[in-house]
């Protein structure tokens, strides 16, 4: 679970440091990771233990 907060923290740091392109990518990755964790929670099929 920590991984989504870690990516979010990186995204916030990138935004505040003024890196536009990569910060948008990191923000979208945060949401994608969250969606992955939700699917994992519902199915228990993804090979992750985060």
């Amino acid at each position: 679970m920590y991984i989504v907060f870690l990516i979010a923290l990186i995204a916030v740091a990138l935004i505040l440091s003024g890196r536009s392109g990569i910060s948008i990518a990191a923000s979208l990755l945060t949401t994608a990771t969250l969606a992955g964790l939700l699917i994992h929670h519902m199915t228990d099929k993804l090979p992750i233990s985060l």
Binding site: M1, Y2, V4, F5, L6, A8, L9, A11, V12, A13, I15, L16, G18, S20, S23, I24, S27, L28, T30, T31, L34, A35, L37, L38, H41, M42, S49, L50
Partner: protein, 189 residues
């Protein structure tokens, strides 16, 4: 006050509200000792994902792309809330944690995400056609809100690591895993 300034202020307000909700969840956790379940943590992450969209607007200027980032976060966050609502929908199920004004926190979370989606739709309607992508106002309040959001995100990362460590969180957590491990280590030495 022109439209750009109004939308900038509304973005600051939205990020401040999200930070306040996350702070309230922290107070609930620390003061009342209620550890967040995995789905509760995911709803917090959903709010943070929404906040990232508003933060992008405040830092780089208001753009539809940034609202899109926030909308994706709101949709996934709302899905997480619905998942938890459906887990406790059976008649007689007391639900997880306590209720506030008749609704559990995950129901409030769902209402919040729907409100966010409506709010973003409104902000998109207010967007000017030829709006510059550059940030124009970086007042003291905006800076404070952005830094508080950073602190809240870091706090959630630290709290989650303390509660669950580097593995999956238990469905019904009763203790902080890393703190318990540390306590056991101290006792054995």
């Amino acid at each position: 006050m022109n439209l750009l300034r109004i939308t900038h202020s509304l973005n600051t307000l939205a990020l401040a509200l999200i930070t306040a909700v996350l702070g309230g969840a922290f107070i609930e956790q620390l003061v009342f000792g209620e550890l967040p379940c995995p789905l509760c943590l995911m709803q917090r992450a959903g709010l943070i994902a929404v906040g990232l969209g508003f933060l992008l607007n405040l830092r780089f200027g208001i753009q539809p792309l940034h609202y899109g980032v926030a909308l994706f976060g709101a949709l996934v966050g709302a899905s997480t809330s619905v998942r938890q609502i459906l887990l406790h929908i059976s008649p007689g199920d007391p639900g997880y944690s306590k209720a506030v004004f008749g609704f559990h926190f995950y129901t409030w979370s769902f209402i919040t995400f729907i409100a966010v989606i409506f709010g973003i739709a409104l902000l998109l309607c207010l967007s000017e056609k030829n709006q510059s992508g550059r940030p124009v106002f970086a007042g003291r309040i905006t800076v404070i809100v952005m830094l508080t959001f950073l602190v809240i995100v870091f706090g959630n990362l630290a709290s989650t690591l303390l509660e669950c460590g580097l593995t999956q969180c238990p469905d019904d957590p009763t203790q902080y895993l890393w703190l318990q491990t540390l306590s056991n280590l101290i006792k054995t030495t």
